[in-house]
Subunit: 427 residues, 3 copies
């Protein structure tokens, strides 16, 4: 395993490449994003036509944008899409007009409390046009006529998402999902995309037990589209993780699945606690990222969400201040490391059945036990074997054993391996 | 809704009217009490003949009393029933005799620790006669002959109780029960009777969901009689509350049903906690008021008990000091207000089923959601809709949603109303 | 019941008698031990031949030893089995040789951290020979030739264990088990043997409800042998207790069964808490004494373990410092008293069914209730009757009633007796 700092720099470089693109829930910005990610891991890109019924929703028209600006009477662009993809209201309908500032104002979005920041705003399902700008820019605009231009198209087209699969020993799946619809916002969610990409690469280093499916899709409508198109595969999804806000310098937050006691919940709690990292475990709420869809009551999947500072928990959230300075290679490397630790546990966690459940089997003659009795310093490995044997009744997993015994998960899993090798337990 | 202080004064006035009457588990005192209550809310008065078998019990003979006194040699009444109904042992058999003080003593009940108070004592099922008096009265009696007179009758007659029904939208019932058998004791239980009476009036202001049945009956034998005569109705009783000691100045106490997790228990805990009133939630015990009968293991109804200072928890309990000064309009008004708040929650609490459980339904096109995305200040009403949708799996009630989300119950119930109106959930 | 101090002295005297014997998992030391115990309580001694298959194990060869020593060049015994049975490695194969100290060293076991103590070591299942001695003895040995002699036999023979039964009113059994395989170690486990012996005598003072079976057997292989030979009886074993380390001056420790909520667990927790003795309740672990076998997942019996300072919890554990000074009559008497208190509860604990579950039965006419109503000082006995009636739904035991009501178990059990006598409940 390469040092995590190297991955940190590589992930940061990927974030830098993706940052300028103008993503939305449809359009060429998403395609360009997936093309870049596809340089790192092979992707299957899916195109779903406008108008397709997906669960309760309909795939909307595709939105593309070439330019947008507000120019003053001298022709000077006082707000310019070319400077930042945030300047245009997402899904703005086209407009080309000249109007006085007073008439323009209702179309302008600012953050009065952070006068130098540009907000991120969208209007996917109501036809609107608008601009986002700094309050101080707005304050400096003299009255007068302004030329406004949004050179966008909103036409029948496609919704685009992509999948990457790391094949495992079994068809049961772990899904990792991240949203790819936000424009130039680094933490939300280019850091999540970068961590997912490198997590996929790390998992492929050896064949994992589970099959890991990575989903790069626009938020909400993308997850809904994926769910609608994979109805037959849902039963295979045993565990999942939504990755978002993966790069800021705050402590890690794991938000539990709706179930609250899904195996992914227990694994994440265990790994975060065992790692002694500062962290927080949050209850499920039906707000946030695409765990909302995976944990809707009809699906109720065991899908949690890992972030650093979570949704709306930092002032820079959904503003131009969520920029390349806001994320760090170290933070992304740390998020990646936790994911790898958690999946290492998840991938080895099993329920075994003790095949010799009446009394203890004689470990000594199988070479599994110190032959010299009477010593009080029973070794951890031997204790782990006794624990695995005692709790392998089909009800307890290795994680249960680790938690109840206080022994490290790896010691317990190694003990299970030894017992399995000796034919004393079966999976 | 009228200000609670007005109800307080009215309830206090009702207590004052009822105070002088000599109630017992049978007899004209109960009838007179129900006649007065009947001026406030229509009552169906039931008369159950002596000797009727009711569960494990038998309706006893009816007791009535005209006069009782102890007179000294000069004819002066040193203990006089006309001064207070407490002076005679409840259910005293008739006596007319002259005897020395020494012979009289075994029939006299006092409270040595509170020498100026008169205790309340009864002997329903053993034929006894006796008097209750202040210790200091007894101490002042010189030796000598005394005339004792209890002019009572204990004959075949009836046990009397009454019901008042507030019809609801469904036949499922909430019962509210209060005992009407205590003589001149204000808190126990004239205050309970008064609160029940005004609660019935308040509930009738609009048609509630449940049918509310108010039971005014003598303690123990009255509840047992009601249960025996309503065997076919018991299944309809979904929730219930026993009201007692409703007017003293102590904090509220809710005693949970035997089940401990009945919906009335959860509602009362929620409302008391949310109201930030000082209060106590007590575990069920098989002692107290008629929750003993409703929560006997054969019925095991979801019936709790609301008091202020509970049973035997104050020195004035079952003494002449539980008088009109011991209860206050404000305390009764507060008890009434909590009952109304609790029943407002209980009456709206439902389990809904999300009819669109796969992914989130698109609230925007139904006008249930702000169309402008990207804002971080999701409104409470929208959060409540997401919570109701997410938890409406048939397992969770709106109270569950309120508790898990931390949102006010009313906000949650309103959200459920909007979703129901949009056809997204069904009850 | 005799004062516990008398039993303390008698138990201590028994420990003194047993102390010098060289016990192991087989052999004449066990037989001699059982012969002495048999003077106190009748024992059925079982002999199981070498080679018998018992669960996953095989009864080993029988080990006997006549002498063992290390002698220096002058013939002086520097290590002598006759001084302490600990000096020889348990199950040492015979050896008779002369060798330099350097060659002898790998066969010598010491405790460098406690240079004056002799460790206890065994090698049951690997043919070894060896000696245990004080580090300071070893340090004082000059280089040179030493004569080593272990005059032992390891031959086909038997494994020996014994049972004592106190017949009860029902065939359901409580087992009490203690290991008899340790040589001259007072706390581990001569104190356990002594407490078990006197517990058996105490239980026989009147016919108990359960049948109590006492098992005196070598650790591990003995329990496994007993389990293998009693497959048909296992279903009768309802509760059990493993007694060990019963005589040191530390506080009591109850280690729960694997189930954790077995009735013996609840009874021991209750009795220890109610007695206000300093104590600790420990979770089950699959290490320790023969609870390991009884609580293996195939059996999963409700068997806990009572010790004072538990397994390996004191420095003297498995050393010569676990001698007659390490145990006290008072500590053994205290352990015995707790066992008797616990079994007194266990033996009376039942689930009853209220035969009059609709409303309260009228206790007054059955002479079970004070006839004078209105008093606030309801007596404990009456409260206990109400509690038993309310909770006797087939789900709750008398211990449940005691715990929920806060009333003493004996009061509750007495109330149940009165109600049973009145025909109001049935077992």
């Amino acid at each position: 395993m390469a040092p995590v700092t190297e991955y940190g720099d590589e992930m940061y470089a990927l974030v830098e490449r993706l940052y300028p693109l103008c993503r939305s829930i449809t359009g060429d910005g998403v395609r360009a994003t997936l093309e870049i990610v596809g340089e790192y891991i092979p992707l299957k890109v899916r195109e779903v036509p406008t108008g397709t019924q997906v669960l309760d929703w309909t795939v909307p028209k595709e939105w593309n944008i070439r330019d947008a600006h507000i120019a003053d009477a001298t022709g000077h662009r006082v707000v310019d899409f070319r400077a930042s993809s945030l300047h245009v209201l997402g899904y703005s309908v086209p407009v080309s007009a000249t109007m006085p500032l007073a008439e323009l104002r209702p179309h302008l979005h600012t953050l009065p409390d952070h006068p130098s920041w540009v907000p991120y705003r969208t209007s996917y399902y109501q036809p609107e046009w608008g601009f986002c700008l700094a309050q101080e820019t707005l304050d400096a605009l003299p009255d007068g006529e302004y030329e406004v231009c949004v050179d966008s198209t909103l036409t029948d087209g496609h919704l685009t998402y992509a999948e990457h699969v790391v094949p495992g020993q079994v068809a049961d799946e772990v899904i990792v999902s991240c949203h790819v619809c936000h424009p130039s916002l680094a933490n939300d969610n280019l850091a999540g995309i970068a961590v997912a990409t490198y997590l996929a690469r790390a998992l492929a280093e050896r064949t994992p037990y589970y099959t890991y499916r990575f989903i790069f899709a626009p938020g909400t409508i993308g997850a809904i589209t994926w769910l609608a198109r994979n109805a037959e595969r849902i039963d295979r999804v045993k565990h999942g993780l939504v990755l978002a806000c993966a790069g800021d310098r705050g402590r890690l937050t794991y938000k539990q699945s709706r179930r609250g006691d899904a195996e992914i919940d227990r694994v994440m709690r265990y790994v975060l606690a065992a790692s002694e990292r500062p962290h927080r475990v949050a209850e499920f709420t039906p707000y946030g990222y695409d765990e909302r869809q995976f944990c809707s009551p009809g699906f109720d999947l065991g899908v949690g969400s890992l972030t650093r500072t979570p949704y709306a928990g930092y002032p820079e959230y959904h503003t131009s201040a969520d920029n390349l300075d806001f994320v760090s290679p170290e933070a992304m490397a740390d998020t990646l490391a936790v994911c790898r630790e958690a999946f290492a546990v998840l991938d080895r966690d099993r329920r075994y059945l003790n095949l010799s459940p009446y009394g203890e089997p004689q470990l000594g003659r199988r070479g599994l036990y110190d032959s010299l009795g009477g010593r009080s310093d029973a070794k951890q490995a031997q204790m782990a074997m006794l624990w695995v044997l005692n709790l392998s009744d089909g009800e307890h997993s290795l994680l249960d054993v680790a938690e109840r015994s206080g022994l490290p998960f790896d010691t317990v899993a190694d003990a299970a391996g030894a017992l399995h090798g000796a034919g004393l337990i079966k999976a």
